[in-house]
Symmetry: C2
Subunit: 206 residues, 2 copies
């Protein structure tokens, strides 16, 4: 298809498509004349992925470039490709110097080991969880994560992983991961607060 | 206790305490001389609550004032007092004009009715969930919230509500709600992404 059709089908404006081409986010089409190129389904899939990372993942272009490099590196196993996208979605956390941090971080590492979870030692989620545990300890909250671990494990293993099309094009798998992680995460967050309101009403209303 | 002791025990600097007193966030102490006042446990509890709303809830001072007005209005039932804090924690969502919004919002209202949940018609979580559903629909994601509803209901009814001290001082109940909602929400979010990484490793690693 021509660039005009690619634009119509993807809903992405032509100047934006040209910008993605220049930035290397979108691979070049098949050149058919000096000023004409042909695009195909792979370009549509890539535009969907870029849109997911920009609009839903709210990732900066530099992070998007890293994820796309992982998508394009066919020698990179799918698990590591997905990990690149996954880590890009994690909020940046700076370890705080001090004993509180070390205690919390050790607690996270022990939890992961006890669960037998396969988490990379450099996974940003380790620091992210540690930061929350530091705050909980400082504010005197009980730190019992068991019910949250159980809920997360159940959701992920019984529902979420089955939604990732591992066997299809690499772009589509990453897109599903980004959309699912962010949007179902938001949905759960709102539903949890709804359940809190409803339960509180049930227990306290006259 | 004197203001210096209140500061030492709460970890809040004296000028900050004076600012809270001027702003009406902290109730005045018992005046014992022209320049001297006595503070008690209720001031310590209030400072903990303010800290929770500022540092963990990241609420603006205007929202904190509203929550504290609800805490101080003893005629307001506990459920509505907690609701004030809860709603203050919700991100502000602007309904988008158009058919997509109306479909999503109807879907949310029907879901709540089907579940029999007691959610105020003006609860901001309704718009918040609708906004996520609009995005899901636009991006072609399947909208099956059942497993998320189940996970939220289980966590809230079996674990979270039991952590709110409904019978104690009003400040303490609101503090527990704010801390629990925000911090366990963050912890769950990190644990869910950890579970995704581990499950993906298990399915895809050689």
């Amino acid at each position: 298809m021509r660039i005009s059709e690619l634009s119509a089908k993807s809903g992405v404006a032509i100047p934006t498509i040209k910008y993605y081409l220049r930035e290397g986010l979108l691979h070049q089409g098949q050149q058919t004349a000096a000023t004409r190129a042909e695009y195909d389904e792979s370009h549509l899939r890539r535009l969907r992925l870029i849109r997911a990372m920009l609009e839903v993942g709210r990732l900066p272009v530099a992070s998007i470039k890293k994820v796309i490099a992982a998508v394009e590196d066919e020698s990179l196993p799918v698990h590591l490709m997905l990990g690149t996208a996954h880590y890009a979605l994690s909020p940046a956390v700076e370890p705080e110097p001090g004993e509180d941090w070390q205690i919390a971080r050790d607690q996270v590492d022990r939890l992961i080991a006890d669960l037998g979870w396969a988490i990379d030692p450099r996974a940003p989620t380790r620091d992210e969880l540690a930061q929350t545990l530091v705050k909980m300890r400082q504010l005197g909250l009980p730190i019992d994560l068991t019910p949250y671990v159980e809920a997360a494990r159940k959701l992920v293993s019984e529902v979420e992983m089955d939604k990732i099309p591992f066997d299809g094009p690499r772009d589509a798998a990453v897109e599903a991961l980004v959309l699912g992680t962010v949007l179902y995460g938001k949905a759960f967050d709102a539903l949890r607060r709804m359940a809190q309101e409803s339960e509180s009403a049930g227990r306290l209303s006259p």
